[in-house]
Every structure is written in structure tokens, then in C-alpha cells.
Symmetry: C2
């Protein structure tokens, strides 16, 4: 982990000039409860007292921390200066800023992007109090652009961790497909998957409910909890699942069809829905390349579904994946108010995205959603997951 | 868990009039990454899109959530109204506020108290945008007082969970005392304790490093990571540890002395330090009662150590414990800038506190810190932990 932190600190320093930022500061307290989503990139532990981690374009890496965190921060070797305090962070903080004298001081707040919005309103207000009488309050800017690039442009180490997390999730999803049989409940299947993650020594990619398991049209679609709903003939079984492995996540959706006694293939309506979703993914991937805005990629898949007569999906086509399953920066999503400015952000080389169109109900058989993962290359994108191109019949192997 | 949420929702409703609050709103997004420390009291899951949970003094409990969270929130049965949205939370949110028309709308931000400071600065700014043209932006107040009471005044169910978490931690600490022997390393001991927690089916009370293990004067005091430092004769072994069980935490410190070959009791300087710490706890507990301000309790223990010629401890005497090991509200701490207004908050019946004076180095043998837990009663306080009154010799049983 420590090498990765060094790698990302170097990347941060190199990125700052590109965005006209002289100093970038993470300002936190009790960080195991009020997390800044950026903190894990810079430090493995947590901070109790008010703490400031400052990276500058000039190469400074300064940590101002409570005295009881001094030893642990120093031991990382990542910081050019570690300044402990006892009664108040105010004086050392103002002194450091005065010495650095940044023209633009970036802080982690953003109306649009949660992953660049780790500064609480109380901590922001506290900082303004501390900076009274200095010129620095007026030099504060949002870090949203630099954090978007920092999180979004994956280093080689980050990409290989994500690939490992995908491989593990795929293995578990295959096992889940063998375990699933008509008569089992969503809850039993979810439990099987969670046990498998434990056996692989990995965490779940997001908080409860992970996995999401839906069988049939009466299941709780969306972020609903797996229930005692049984897998029954005529249902689509849909699983949304990912793992967190070595600090990085995967996020995949897979579907199966549970045939009725007389069926040897999915009903035509289900097959058509599956084809539309798969085609939506294919066409969107063809559009995905550096420089395109996220909403333009989303629009491709949205149009494929509209053309085949299916309703619009009520979410984004895809999101970044990294340390978080839903990672920040831009989104491959529609220009809805709830996404703010994020659909307008340009796609960049090294971005890792999901592609996940869905249909809430495919031919009365339930939710049909497929989610793949890709990395953006200089000329397009490359598949990271092994694509689901066939809708298997469950329980007939 | 659900019954506890109902219990706390009822408590919240009853508390609001006491603080002149008409409506209290938790406003979050991607809450598994940007947590509001209050959210777990109201909802077991997490929210992806912007979501508002509103509790009013009049008894409304309204959840406005993204459509994919609608089913899960509705299934809890805790909300009188669940309003799903697709493109933007703005309209339903403004409609609900207009209908409720609160004179004072409390939000979770606080300069002083992290546990009432879950609203990010970006989400605060987003809300101000949404409330443009309404009277509600001007009616926003901090929820710090009501959240302090809400978290601090433990219900019977909460107290029994905390007591269970204390019992488990005490059992594990006793086992650690039997496992610890000269020659073992801090790291081995920490691993033993973590394994024991797993075997008990409980979590750790805080993020890494939990436990904190210090042996001797060269150990990394404070929030430092356990190292390959070996337990050696002449060392104090100090462990700071707690578990999270059924959503609630314990937080205890225990010490042992590792005798040199010829020693049959701790050196006089170590014994004196131990007595001073224990006396500090006793005297502070005698002062702890409803109505006293936190700094007054801290001052008692600080004075005991000063009188016996030991240096001042560089932290607070004690903190709340609840869902978090360091829980919010007031603190039994000195009036240092870093604690803001929290030392001035009055102690209340039902508060659960630690009492934990410490000495960074006791007679050259290392850190000596004892941490007990108490609950405040109408007339004083009651011990929740079994007090450590003797400094045992390690490895001689």
C-alpha cells in the first residue's frame, strides 16, 4: 500500500500545475467517522484531532497533526515535514500557509462530485475562522477538477488492483450461477456470495445491500435488500455485485433466465431485452474515448433502448470505479439535475468506467441489467470484464 | 436494530421542542463514502443519490430518496412518508419544506462537534441553491445541541448494548494478559486481540490501529501502530482497545508491568504513577454528575496528577462513547482551542463517558494509561467497566 501512496502523491504533485493549483489541502478530524473520500490515497490510518495534509506543486508534502498521530505519520516516510501540535492546529497551520503563500489553495468541496466533497461544512467554517486576517480565505478554490483527474487517471498499480478485483468478482458470480437453483431465495443466494467473498479474503465493494439479488418481477428493484423471494421458473435472476480487494473495487451485473418446464430458451420478449441491453453496451463502448463528454456516451445506449421500444433507464449508463465502487469525477450519465455538472466532464485516458444499461422489467420476467467494466485508452476503450454475451438458462446445466 | 431505530426516532421527535427546532434534516449522498455520523441512527443502509431524512416536532418522518432506494426505505416501516425521485431532489424537497414550513430547520453542521458535522460543504452549498427564492435558507440552524442530546442521552437499549461491548472487551483484554509474555512483540499481541474479536463475532471499535499496544518507553505512544518492539522486563505493557458489538462500542485501557528478574513488585516510580492515574479517575468520577461542565471534571484529574508531580496529559480526560468509540457532544476535556466549545457542554443523565488520564512515560518504563467507562446517573455516575485497581506483574502467574 505504501508504494501506491508514494505513487499517488507524485501524481498529485504533477497534476497541480495543470489545474493552476499551488497547494492542495485535505483538512479532517475524527476521520474514521467523517471520512474524506480522498484521505485513503494519502494516508492509511485515521486522524482524531483536526489534521491537515498539504501537497504543493513545488514538492512540499506537509502533515500537521495532533501529537498522538505524529509517530504514525512520520513512520510512513511520505511527508517532507510532520508538524505535531497539542492545543490548537491554528498557529502551525497559519504559519505553514504563510510560508507556502499559495495563490490558489484547493480544498475538497464540490456541489457536484461527492468524491471531491469530503470537507464538512463545520470544518470549512472552522478554517475560515482560522484564516481570518490572512489573505488565504480568499484564495480557496474547489479541488473538484484536480481530484477528478487524481482519482480518474489510474496508475498502472491501480489498474492491476482493479483487474484483480474484477477477476475475483467474476469467479464468485460464476459460482453463484452454479449454486442458484429454482426454490432458493434471494437471501440464500446473497449469503452464499458474501461467504464466498470472505473465503476469498476480500471485502464487499459497497455497503449493504451487496450483492443486490433480484428474482422475478416482484423483487425489490434498485438498491433493495435481498428478501425471501424464491427463484422461480419464468424469472430473470439478476445480481449486482463487486468486491473490494487490496483497496480497489469491482462492480458487475449478471443475469440468468430460469426456464419454465417447457422452455428451452428465454421467451422472445426477454431475449429481445437482453439483446437491446448488450447492444447498448457495445455501442456505448464504441463511443467511449478520451475527449468525449460523459452524457454523449450515455445518450448512445439510451437511444439503442429507445429505438427497440424499451423504456429509458432511470439512472446513469456508467460511473467511475476505483477505491470506491461508485467513484467520483465525471459520470456517463444524462444531463439531469441530480448529476450536476458531472455528465459534462470529459473522459480521459486511464479512466475506468462501468457500462450498465438496464430494464426494470423485461417481458414480465423481472429486472434485466448487465454491467461491464472498461478502461479508457488513447484511442478508445478496452474491456476489463469478460462480457456477458449470452443469457444462460439457470438450473439446466 | 429496527426497534432501536424506532426508539431513537421517537426520542428525536421528543427532543426537538426542547431545542426550539421544528424540523431536523439529514441531507446526504453516496453515504457509504461520505458518512453523516447521525445516519446510522435513522437508517441501516446507505444512500447513493441525494437523500433527505426529515424528522419534525409534529411527528412527521419524511424520506425523500432516489427511486432505487424507495423500496428499501419503505420496507423499514419507520417513515410516515417516502417520496422517490428520478431526475432531481429539488422539487420534492422544496415542496416538503413548504408544507412543513419550519421556523427553524436544523442541519448537521458544527464547528466544534464532529458527530454533529456530517453535512459536507458541497451538500450545504447545493441545498442553498435549492432553497433560493424560499424563506428556508434563512431558517437553517446547526443541529449541534439537539444531536448532542440525541447521541448523548442513551436509551435503555443503547446502554445494554454498550455494556455488552464492554464485557466482550474485558474478556478479550484478560485473555491478552494471559497471552502476553516477555519476548512477544507488540504486533503479535495486537494480532492475538484482533483474532479474539473475530472469534467473538464483533468488530473493532475504531479504525487502524485498534488495539494500540505499547511496550516500554521506546514504543510509539498515542495512535501509533503496534511494531516489532518486544515485550521486555522493565516495560509497562499498555493496551488501548474496544469492540463494536451490535452497533455500539467500548473503549478501555489496561496496563501490566513486566518485572525484571529480581523484581517482585513494580518499581516505586511506576507504582506511584499507577496510583496517581487511578486516583485521578476516582476523583474525577466523584465530580461527574448532571449539570457539571466537562472541563470541570477534566480539571480534577489534571490536578491530581499535577499535585503528585507528574506532567499534564496532552489530551482530554474522557469522551462520550456510543455508536462511535469517540462519540460526539461534550467532552471531559481542557479548554483548549482544538476542543472548541465542547468542554463547556453540561453533562447529562444517561451520558456514557470514558475516564482516561495517562502518563506518557512512567518512571522510564513506558506509557501508563488506564481507561474506564461510566454512565451518568441522576446523582452521580455508575461504573460500567470493572475498574483496574492493581498493576499486575506480567508473566509471573
Amino acid at each position: 500500500m505504501s508504494d501506491l501512496i508514494a505513487e499517488k502523491l507524485n501524481q498529485a504533485q504533477a497534476l497541480l500545475p495543470e489545474f493552476g493549483i499551488d497547494a492542495w489541502m485535505v483538512f479532517v478530524r475524527e476521520s474514521s467517522h467523517c471520512r474524506d473520500p480522498v484521505l485513503p490515497y494519502l494516508y492509511e490510518g485515521s486522524f482524531t484531532w483536526q489534521s491537515a495534509l498539504i501537497v504543493t506543486a513545488a514538492g512540499d508534502r506537509i502533515a500537521i497533526v495532533g501529537q498522538f498521530d505524529d509517530g504514525a505519520v512520520r513512520a510512513t516516510g511520505h511527508w517532507t515535514e510532520v508538524i505535531p501540535y497539542v492545543q490548537s492546529i491554528r498557529d502551525p497551520l497559519v504559519e505553514v500557509l504563510t510560508k507556502l503563500n499559495p495563490r490558489r489553495l484547493a480544498l475538497n468541496f464540490s456541489v457536484d462530485d461527492f468524491a471531491a466533497d469530503g470537507l464538512t461544512h463545520g470544518m470549512y467554517s472552522l478554517l475560515l475562522q482560522y484564516l481570518t486576517g490572512t489573505p488565504y480565505a480568499e484564495r480557496i478554490v474547489s479541488s473538484v477538477d484536480v481530484v477528478g483527474a487524481f482519482r480518474g487517471r489510474k496508475t498502472a498499480s491501480e489498474l492491476s488492483r482493479i483487474e484483480a478485483a474484477i477477476a475475483t468478482a467474476e469467479t464468485i458470480l460464476e459460482a453463484a450461477g452454479r449454486f442458484a437453483r429454482p426454490g432458493k431465495t434471494e437471501r440464500e443466494l446473497a449469503h452464499f456470495i458474501q461467504q464466498a467473498a470472505t473465503q476469498h479474503g476480500v471485502g464487499l465493494a459497497w455497503e449493504s445491500p451487496c450483492p443486490i439479488v433480484n428474482s422475478g418481477p416482484d423483487s425489490m428493484i434498485g438498491h433493495g435488500t435481498p428478501t425471501d423471494q424464491r427463484l422461480e421458473p419464468g424469472h430473470i435472476l439478476h445480481i449486482d455485485f463487486g468486491v473490494q480487494q487490496n483497496g480497489y473495487c469491482s462492480d458487475l451485473q449478471r443475469c440468468w433466465y430460469i426456464p419454465r418446464p417447457e422452455e428451452t430458451q428465454p421467451p422472445a420478449a426477454v431475449a429481445r431485452a437482453f439483446d437491446a441491453v448488450v447492444t447498448g453496451i457495445t455501442k456505448a463502448a464504441e463511443r467511449l474515448q478520451p475527449g468525449v463528454e460523459g452524457w454523449q456516451v450515455d445518450a448512445v445506449a439510451r437511444e439503442v433502448l429507445a429505438e427497440t421500444g424499451f423504456p429509458e433507464y432511470g439512472h446513469a449508463l456508467g460511473h467511475h470505479v476505483g477505491r470506491n465502487a461508485h467513484d467520483g469525477g465525471g459520470i456517463l450519465g444524462p444531463r439531469w439535475d441530480r448529476y450536476g455538472r458531472t455528465p459534462y466532464r470529459k473522459v480521459e485516458t486511464g479512466n475506468v468506467f462501468t457500462l450498465e444499461p438496464s430494464l426494470v422489467d423485461a417481458g414480465g420476467a423481472g429486472c434485466l441489467g448487465i454491467e461491464e467494466m472498461v478502461v479508457v485508452t488513447e484511442t478508445g476503450c478496452r474491456w476489463l470484464s469478460h462480457r456477458q454475451m449470452v443469457l444462460p438458462l439457470l438450473g439446466t446445466a
